[in-house]
């Protein structure tokens, strides 16, 4: 129990540090925020009066710590401010697009975990022989092909030419396959390689040699003995990688016109829409912290060695 509390405390600490970091970046952004708010709203030549009004509206003249306190308080309550570009609450804009992003990330996560388990296991079982070479080759291929290049090719070949799938993805499960595959590739490559290594390391343990001597077959040894030992680092990797998936989603969503948070953020960057950019960073950070927390707790549950001594 103490471990859990301690771990939750760590997560909160990271969140707080990330919050300070994000707000700090916002504070040092060059240029007058009021000016940029007006420009993002399409006012090209704001009068000094208009700038002053926006400064007052956003209470930009308060001291920095006061502004940070207000910003953090709002963020904790789920208020991420108002998009400078659309004039609507950022939280609302995200809520509208989050389901699509989650759908994409979850599908990619599922694909990545499944494929990585398969490739990693095959490679470990046949270490040094052709299944290993093949699996590692696939992983290397998945790693080196840039997702946005693959996305462009897939849309043209699969969607436009072969007539499968849709160009204007509507963010539902029926159109998720292609973008999810593209998004999953990098993770498949990394995760399968990690799994292979940890399976092999677990395989060199003494008790496995004993098990082998007692006649346990390679598959049985793998499932019963190696996997439980190798799964913790794998799961940790998956937890950490989930947040990178969200970052990668920004690229993949833009290529596939997936109506998610990432694509919205890329548009916001081009319009210098700061609240959206900051909001996206915060959402990604929270997702990351939660994912790693969940994975840690899961690992502790699976692997008793990670529990604290009573």
């Amino acid at each position: 129990m103490f471990v859990v509390l301690r771990r939750v405390g760590q997560a909160l600490l990271t969140l707080a540090a990330a919050g300070v970091l994000v707000f700090g970046m916002l504070a040092v952004t060059p240029g007058d925020p009021a000016q940029r708010v007006l420009q993002a709203r399409g006012v090209l030549e704001p009068t000094p009066a208009a700038v002053a009004a926006v400064r007052a509206e956003l209470r930009l003249d308060d001291p920095l710590p006061v502004r940070f306190g207000r910003w953090a308080g709002d963020a904790v309550r789920g208020d991420l401010g108002v998009s400078w570009r659309t004039g609507r609450p950022v939280a609302g804009e995200f809520a509208e697009r989050l389901p699509a992003t989650l759908r994409l990330t979850v599908a990619a996560l599922g694909l990545a975990v499944g494929a990585a388990l398969l490739l990693g296991t095959v490679a470990a079982l046949g270490a040094g022989r052709w299944p290993d070479t093949l699996a590692r080759g696939i992983a290397l291929g998945a790693l080196v092909v840039p997702s946005f290049v693959l996305g462009v090719v897939l849309i043209d070949v699969v969607v436009v030419r072969a007539g499968l799938g849709r160009v204007i993805a509507d963010g539902t499960w029926s159109t998720v396959l292609l973008p999810a595959v593209v998004l999953a590739l990098g993770a498949i490559a990394t995760w399968s390689r990690v799994l292979r290594t940890s399976l092999l390391e677990a395989g060199s343990a003494t008790h496995l040699k004993v098990a082998a001597a007692r006649g346990a077959g390679p598959v049985r040894r793998l499932v019963v003995h190696q996997m439980p030992n190798a799964i913790a680092p794998f799961l940790t990797m998956v937890g950490l990688g989930t947040a990178s998936l969200i970052g990668g989603a920004a690229v993949v969503e833009s290529v596939f016109t997936w109506p998610g948070v990432g694509r919205f953020t890329v548009e916001a960057i081009n319009a210098r829409d700061m609240p959206v950019i900051v909001g996206f960073t915060l959402v990604a950070v929270v997702a990351y912290v939660l994912a790693s927390l969940a994975v840690d707790l899961l690992c502790a549950w699976i692997d008793p060695r990670l529990r604290s001594p009573r």
Partner: protein, 523 residues
């Protein structure tokens, strides 16, 4: 240790996700041959945020759910749209006549009273209107007659009434109620405050769904449904047409035209241009363009013909001046003359030895041209511009900026730019752009033009009611701008859309009026 249940759970989860992700059927929209479709799906690059007439009313006329009093017609005079007649009854008075029995979608009548109310409300809320017609008033002179009285003679009234961002027709009473209720703008969907032949039934960040209005004052519309999809990526819009997900893609880039040649799933359809599209600005507030001769030399060095025919493969027309040649008052002020350009540069002290760069006092003649990603053609034009000026020994660097207007605000931070701006207002007015772009106090006079003589000409033009005298003044203005090297157009893009097979006869009306009551496949 309980490894097995854990693994099984894990495996089950993986399988479940793989099944949902992998085994769902994916289908493209398939357009069955045979009967022409009676629905239309348009992919556009810009999202419509809401139906608020003050904020986003201008999108309405383009997609058929809002109407204007006059129909913009950039090729000539505006013609009556909702109005049945607009007559000038004196130097400062206009009579507006409404059709019999016209109603808003919510059932309220569009009569003289509603129009007077609308005009007064827009005068108070719309800066463009109150700035264009200061002190103007509207009074009902009959059940369907309204008299508009302006403080000064205003020849531009028909063009103003045809401007999508000045006077969209909507039910002010209902809109006031909406404002008073404090409800969000999204509540305006279904409120029926407009008069258009199509009605927006639903609107979100990705799609607007429109249905026809059977009781429209001019008769029922041709289509059973119109869908507008918001797709910011130009290539995705075209691919959506190719895959059958959209019938028409708006704002295709010129670069995509050659890729559609010889295909039967998408067609690059062009229309008649209403005016030149890309301004070539030279910033007079800085060297080298503070010298009139250098500006004129650059404008004379551009090969307008090559840009239209070689660079843009005929999807552009050569720019010959500030207006299209079809305008009665248009003057051909732009022509390529490399010899003249060279002697102007020599005269200005920028000399050249052999094939080297042009220099003055040891300094190279080199400047940057700004382009911007929202108009990819600006990069294509800049590249050709760079190559053409290189032949004269002028170095050009291309600099893409995220926000062109913002970049040109600083008078000392840029030399030249390629900016997509027209020279005739949306409603067909040619005076207000002169005020905006080339008058010394113009809001978008980026180049810092400061020419008192030109200012005086523009001021006289603005109040001239006699057509002959007005046209004559306008010709003088064009020559003045050209002779002083104030501004030129580098390209004239033909308006274009990409359509699917069923819509390949679609006619582009200009003025961005994509959907009208009679819009149907086959033209």
């Amino acid at each position: 240790m309980t490894p097995r249940p854990t693994l099984i759970r894990l495996a089950a989860a993986v399988v479940a996700v793989l099944l949902t992700a992998g085994c769902v059927q994916t289908t493209g929209g398939d357009e069955a041959g045979g009967d022409p479709p009676d629905t239309l799906t348009i992919a556009t690059g810009f999202a419509i945020d809401d139906l608020d007439p003050l904020v986003n009313g201008f999108w309405g006329p383009e997609f058929g759910y809002v109407e204007l009093l006059m129909r913009p017609n950039r090729a000539g005079e505006p013609t009556p749209w909702v109005l049945t007649d607009l007559t000038s009854t004196g130097p400062t008075t206009w009579e507006l006549t409404l059709p019999d029995g016209a109603t808003f979608v919510n059932g309220a009548p569009l009569d003289a009273e509603a129009l007077v109310d609308l005009f007064a409300f827009q005068m108070a809320e719309n800066d463009s209107l109150s700035a264009s017609l200061p002190g103007a008033t509207a009074t009902a002179t009959g059940p369907l007659q309204v008299t508009l009285t302006t403080a000064e003679p205003a020849p531009s009234v028909p063009a103003l009434l045809a401007d999508e961002s000045i006077l969209p027709v909507y039910d002010v009473a209902a809109y006031r109620e909406h404002l008073a209720s404090g409800a969000p703008a999204s509540e305006l969907v279904g409120a029926g405050i407009y008069t258009g032949p199509y009605v927006v039934d639903s609107l979100d960040g990705a799609t607007a769904q429109l249905s026809p209005r059977a009781d429209h004052w001019a008769g029922p519309p041709a289509l059973s449904a119109v869908t507008v999809r918001f797709v910011p990526e130009a290539s995705a819009r075209i691919q959506a047409v190719q895959s059958g997900e959209a019938d028409i893609a708006l704002y295709p880039s010129t670069a995509s035209a050659p890729t559609l040649e010889g295909r039967d799933d998408a067609f690059f359809v062009t229309g008649e241009p209403t005016g030149p599209t890309f301004q070539l600005w030279l910033n007079q507030q800085q060297a080298p363009f503070d010298d009139e001769r250098v500006r004129r030399a650059v404008y004379a060095a551009v090969d307008y013909d090559a840009i239209a025919n070689d660079v843009m493969n005929g999807l552009y027309l050569p720019a010959t001046g500030l207006y299209t040649e079809s305008r009665p008052w248009a003057e051909k002020t732009q022509s390529t003359d490399v010899t003249a350009a060279e002697s102007l540069l020599d005269e200005a002290g920028w000399s050249r030895e052999g094939d080297g760069p042009r220099t003055r006092d040891g300094q190279e003649l080199r400047f940057a041209v700004l382009t911007y990603p929202q108009q990819p053609d600006s990069d294509t034009l800049a590249l050709a511009f760079q190559a053409q000026l290189a032949e004269l020994g002028i170095g050009v660097d291309i600099r893409q900026v995220p926000d062109l207007d913002a970049a040109m605000q600083d008078p000392t931070d840029w030399h030249s730019s390629i900016a997509g701006n027209g020279f005739i207002s949306y409603g067909g007015d040619h005076v207000s752009p002169l005020f905006r772009y080339v008058r010394s106090d113009g809001q978008r006079n980026y180049g810092g033009i400061d020419d008192p003589e030109l200012d005086a000409m523009i001021d006289r033009l603005a109040v001239e009611l006699d057509p002959a005298a007005r046209d004559d003044l306008l010709r003088q203005v064009q020559w003045r701008i050209a002779e002083r090297g104030h501004l030129a157009y580098i390209g004239l893009r033909k308006p274009a859309v990409v359509t699917g097979p069923a819509w390949r006869d679609y006619e582009i009306e200009g003025s961005n009026l994509w959907v009208s009551r009679d819009t149907a496949p086959g033209g």
